[in-house]
Each structure stands twice: as structure tokens, then as C-alpha cells.
Symmetry: C3
Subunit: 284 residues, 3 copies
């Protein structure tokens, strides 16, 4: 029983992302690009710019990780096979006759399958980032967490920056108030895998890979099918926040207590109103 | 006959850019900076900031290439001779009595000579970039194209970014619809020199350097004297675009064909109107 | 007498910044962050984002220096002790019961002590930057000045950039007209220490460290107690500016002299009006 579990998790952790999981990741990324207003027009008028933006969407996490470790950010261009695959998917998505790919992608089962496979690549990227950072900085656990996080969910930073430079994106200060779900779940994964790597968590790498991936895929599918922003760890978040950052409200003997609670509840109400108005978060 | 051609191209490819061609490049770059609104006032009030911006204009391509290859972007400051030369030209341009340099530069023959010599430096930068990238990444042809392009025409990215950070530039999304002429011609040169370097193009380096430079200089002079934005490869561009990105419009059997052609012609009309309103492109 | 002076300056130059001077620097930096509008709300809603911004405030100079030398900008995360210390100060400043730390910091003697100790760390950073740059680039005196400057006063560039990306800061073009006092004094220190390092200034390192630090601390305390923006080298600045950049106004024989003086006095009047309207400069 245990050995068949071990075999299953071991085989799972040895899966190669190329080509099917990579295809799913590129497809989801390029479709997210296509849905941006004006993206199809840019592809017609300036295909090179559109191709470049698509590459940033597909390889953004690795580019951010390279920038943080002072490695050449162009290194992703040396992996000719993956570049050709991503370029082919960009071409097919934007220039397919009758827009067949977009029509096919509009079916929910296709989206669920692609999103699920993309979540598998997220785990591989986090593990790759943690391992790579450890080869540079022994015991640099903060660096390992940061690089795992950058590789798993850093692509949106790169693509938002590109939009900022192009003038298509005006950052809103309150967007930074709440971290997106992909950012939260990738940070959690990065911390877990760093603890496992530094042997503070007594679980084998392949078991953790399997369990974390299953968690990612299941929660993603549930969130997509129910279409409500169920945050699976919202209760934990609230508890930890109250313990670490909210305890003073109970032990506050000074006369400012009522002022703080009033202003905090006001600002909380304002922010929760803003959060309700925000329907669609960008996927990552 | 062949040997005299060989000798001529060989001697040409061994020309040193220092000092005359470099002087021309710095002069054109600093004059482009001086024409920006408010640049003279900044030079009077904050000479250090003005000097720094002038250095970005003069060495921007090399800085971008260093950033992309994770080399220190400050490395250009170690080349004391070129820094002193560029600084001297900045000083003379901004602080010359009676603004003599700007008056001298307003004569068309002077502008043609300087622009022609600057185009020669463009070829040297592309070749330098391609060779440098190849020393880092054997067979990384995409990296070679990218670095050649960055060195030859990347300066405007660095200077636009500096303007963005200073608040002097609001990027317009439709500026990215059409690549500028320097960007296109540098990309073409970068691809050609990469193919020559990887021995896919059977022509010697010095012959290609000579022919490409003559092409650059002649087209630049024609464009400046006729003062119309003649794009020498507009017919080729249109043909390739139609082959790679427009073929589906002929083979589109689905009912969306009329919708697509209508929306495309609408967007094309809008974009061509915007293009006609844009008189002056920034020189690079 | 001389040997006791030597002993004093030698002991002073061997002071360790950890922990008391570093605590002062982190305290001043985090309090500057806390005074930004909305910072407390961000700390409550998204502590990770607030913690990251605080780390940028505390370590911004080193991060900029790493970026300029193509070293990993995440390297500061490997120094676990300093990161824990800075994080503890962030936590205490933002989440202390009754906001005790901010109340304690509002007393002028506390601010003077912390600001004075922070100025001591500035000298150490400049010296560290100059030495580090020299280890990379022998005789690269411009690089040494730049890195010393970046480490001593570059943090504001990093934090402004973070605000720009978050949408909280709209850069004003005329902010760049006048360099802030910390930027000027750090540039002066960087030049002096570079000249001393390249043996153009015949003074020992420890004597220079002592004298420069005393100059920084005394001027900073005077500026804070008198609360007027006395710039100790405004006369020198005006003289040098007139010599290097204003001489042509006296030797201008051409008819444009009156135009230039009119436009310059107009722009000077405009700029001095704007400078008077600016009350509070950001501290660094």
C-alpha cells in the first residue's frame, strides 16, 4: 500500500512538463492576453510587439526570477524548443481561421483541463525556483521563498510592468491592498517547499509535490465551476491576521481604543465595499 | 577588381569609430535631447541631471544590452575617454556662447553629415552586439538578434523609460502599434548579421558591413532630404504581413468573415488616420 | 595630541553599525514610511506588502547599488540578522499598542538622536560603496562615485519607483530641477571619498570618515532644530554654477543676450516660486 503510494507520487513527480503541460500553460497565458482589450488589433498591426507580449506572459515568472538573481533575463530565449512551441500557440490563437481556438477554448471542460494542467506547472516552477535559489545561497531561506514565489506567480508583475510602460495600465493603489489568490497560494507553496528543502518539514519531496498539486488543481476547478471567489484559507488568514496584527485591539488600555476601532471599522467597511465591487481578478 | 573591392570593404570594416564617428553620434543624440521641451532649462538649473540624461541618450543602447545580459549597466562609465568626449559635446551644445553649435547644426549639410556618420556607428553596434551575444550563448540566435537590436536601436527604450520615471512622458498605447523606422531597420540588420554569423548567409563579414552601412546611410539621407516618411521596405512589409498574418481572410468560409473585414478595415482606417497625424517620429 | 586624535578617529572608524546605528536607520526609515498617507491602512490590510515596502526603505540603497553592478538585488535577504532586526522594528512601529513608538518618536530629542545616528550610517555606506566599486573596477572613478552615491542616498529612487509602480506617486517634472539635500551631500561625500581612495586627497581614511560624519551630523541637527532649509553650501553651489554654467552671460556679444537673460530670469523666477511653495522635502 505504502509502496504503491510511493510509486505513484514518485512517478508523478518525475512527469515532464514538456510538451502537454507546457502547451496548457502557454494556451492559458495567451488566451488571457487575447482577452485584453485591443490585443487582437495589436497582433494585426504589430505582430512583433504582440509576440513579445505573449512571450512575457508565457515566461514572465522565469524572467522575474532571473532579474532577482542577476541572471540574464534573456536566457529564456536560448530554449529554442519552448520558444517555438509558445510562438506556435500564439500564432494559432491569434491567426487561426474562424478564430477556432478561441471558440474551442470557450467550452468549460477545455478551460478546466487547461487550467488544471497549468496549476501542475505552477508546482514545478515553485520547486525549481526553491532548488535553484538554494544552489546560489545555502540557508538563504528568504531568498528561496522569494524565488519560488517569483517563478510560480511572478509573471503578472512582468506583464503589468509592460502594460505600465506601454501606457495601457494605470495601477490602482487599492489593488495592492489584497493579494490575488494565485499570489497567496504560490507564497504558501513556496514557504512549504522551502521548509521541506531545509528539512524542517519531515515529508519527502515527491509526496509534497503530489499533495500540493492536487490541492491546487482541486481548488482551482472548484473555483472555476462554482464561479464564486471561495478562498479556501480565508478562515486561517483571518485567524492569523487577528493573532499577529490585531491583538492590540483587545489589550488597548488607552483612550485611543475607541478612535482606532472606529477608524479601522470605517476603513474596513470602505475596503470591503471596494473589494465587493471588484468582480474579476486577473488570472495568473 | 575583386581584390580591390575586398580591400575597400576590408579597410571600411576596420574603421575606428573613435573619434569622428563617435562625435557625430554624440552630437546627434545630444541635439535630439536639446530639442525636447524644457531641456535647456533643466541644463541651467540642474546640470547633473541634464548630463546624466545626455549620457543615457549617448550610451543607451549599450546600457540596455548590459541589462539584458545581466552585465553591470554602469560599465559604460569605465570608458573614461568616451565619457569625457560625450560630456564635452554635452557641455558645448548646451553652454556654447550665442548657442553657436545649435545654429551650426541647423544647416542641412551638417545634419546630413552627422546623421550619415551616426548610421555607420549603428552598423558597428549591431555587429558588436551579435558577436558579444554569441560569445555568451553559442547558437542562441534569438539572443544574438535581440542583443544586436538592443545595441543598435535600444537607446530610445532607455530614454523613454527615464522620461516616464521623471513624469515627462505619458506613453500612448497606439505608439506601439507601429515600430519606428530605426527599430525596423536595426531589427533587419540584426537578423542579417546573425544569419551571417551562424553561416546561414554566405557572405563575408566585411562585405555585409559595407553593403548594409551604405544602405543605411543612403536611405537616411534620402529620407532627410525629401522629408517624407518613405519606408523603403513598405512593399515587402505589406506582402509578408499579408502572407503570414492576413491569409485567413481569403480562406475564411465562416459567416464572421464580413464582420472581421469590417472591423479590420475600421481599425485600419482609424490607425492610418492616427499615423498621418503623427508628423515627427523621434530619431534614434 | 596628534596620536590621541589618531586614536579617536581610528576607534570611530572601527565602530560597528550593528546594532544601534542600524536600529536608528531602520527606525527613521520606517517612520518615514508610516507618515505616508495610507501606510497604516496598508499594514492592517496587507501586512506582507507593508513589510516589503519597509524593507525597500531600509535597504534601498544597497538594492540600487546591486542593480547597478549586476549583483543579485535579493542579496540583502541573506543577511538574516539585519532582516530580522528591520522586520522587528517595522512590526513594533506599526503594531505597537497605543502607537507608543510613534508617540515616543514625536519628541524632538529622540528624532535628533535617531537622525544623527542615521547620518553616521550614511558615511559607512558611502565608504563601503566606494571600496566595493573599486574592487570591481580599478580606476573606475566615475563608477566609484556612482556606487558610493547609490548606497548613501539611492534608497529614495527605489522607494519612489515602488510608489510609481503602485500608482501612489505621480512624478513631477520640476522635482528633478533641484536635487534634494541628502542627494547633494551624499554626492559630495562620494566624490571626496573617491579622491581619497585614489590617493588624490592626502588624508587618511579614518580622519576623513570622522570629519565628514561630524559635518553630516552637525548640519543635520542644525537643519532640524532651526527648521529652515539652510543649505550649507548654497554659496559654493551658486559660485561654481556661475563659473561653469553661467559665464557665457557675461561674454555674450550677440543680440540674443537680452532674450536669453529675459527667458532665464523668467524661468528662474518661475522655478524659485515653485521651490518656495514646496515646504517639505522627503528625507533620505
Amino acid at each position: 500500500m505504502a509502496s504503491s503510494w510511493d510509486e505513484m507520487t514518485m512517478s508523478f513527480s518525475r512527469l515532464s512538463m514538456f510538451p502537454f503541460f507546457d502547451i496548457a500553460h502557454y494556451l492559458v497565458s495567451v488566451m488571457a492576453l487575447k482577452r485584453q482589450p485591443g490585443a487582437a488589433a495589436v497582433a494585426w498591426q504589430n505582430p512583433i510587439s504582440s509576440w513579445f507580449t505573449a512571450m512575457l506572459h508565457c515566461f514572465g515568472g522565469g524572467i522575474l526570477s532571473s532579474l532577482l538573481l542577476a541572471e540574464p533575463p534573456l536566457r529564456f530565449l536560448t530554449n529554442n524548443t519552448n520558444i517555438l512551441l509558445a510562438s506556435a500557440i500564439w500564432y494559432i490563437v491569434f491567426f487561426c481561421p474562424c478564430d477556432l481556438v478561441s471558440q474551442g477554448y470557450s467550452f468549460l471542460p477545455v478551460q478546466l483541463l487547461a487550467a488544471g494542467m497549468k496549476e501542475v506547472t505552477r508546482t514545478w516552477k515553485i520547486v525549481g525556483g526553491v532548488t535553484h535559489a538554494n544552489s546560489h545561497y545555502k540557508n538563504g531561506w528568504l531568498v528561496m521563498i522569494a524565488i519560488g514565489w517569483a517563478r510560480g506567480a511572478g509573471g503578472s508583475i512582468i506583464t503589468n510592468f509592460e502594460l505600465l510602460v506601454k501606457g495601457d495600465w494605470k495601477p490602482q493603489a487599492d489593488e495592492w491592498m489584497k493579494m490575488s489568490y494565485p499570489a497567496k497560494v504560490t507564497l504558501l507553496g513556496s514557504i512549504i517547499f522551502t521548509l521541506q528543502h531545509t528539512e524542517h518539514l519531515l515529508i519527502s519531496r515527491h509526496d509534497l509535490v503530489f499533495l500540493y498539486t492536487m490541492f491546487l488543481v482541486v481548488t482551482k476547478i472548484i473555483m472555476m465551476t462554482t464561479a464564486t471567489p471561495i478562498l479556501p484559507f480565508a478562515p486561517f488568514e483571518a485567524t492569523i491576521s487577528r493573532i499577529l496584527f490585531g491583538w492590540q485591539q483587545q489589550f488597548l488600555p488607552c483612550e485611543k481604543k475607541s478612535e482606532i476601532s472606529t477608524s479601522t471599522s470605517k476603513s474596513t467597511a470602505v475596503i470591503s465595499d471596494k473589494a465587493k465591487k471588484k468582480g474579476n481578478k486577473k488570472t495568473d
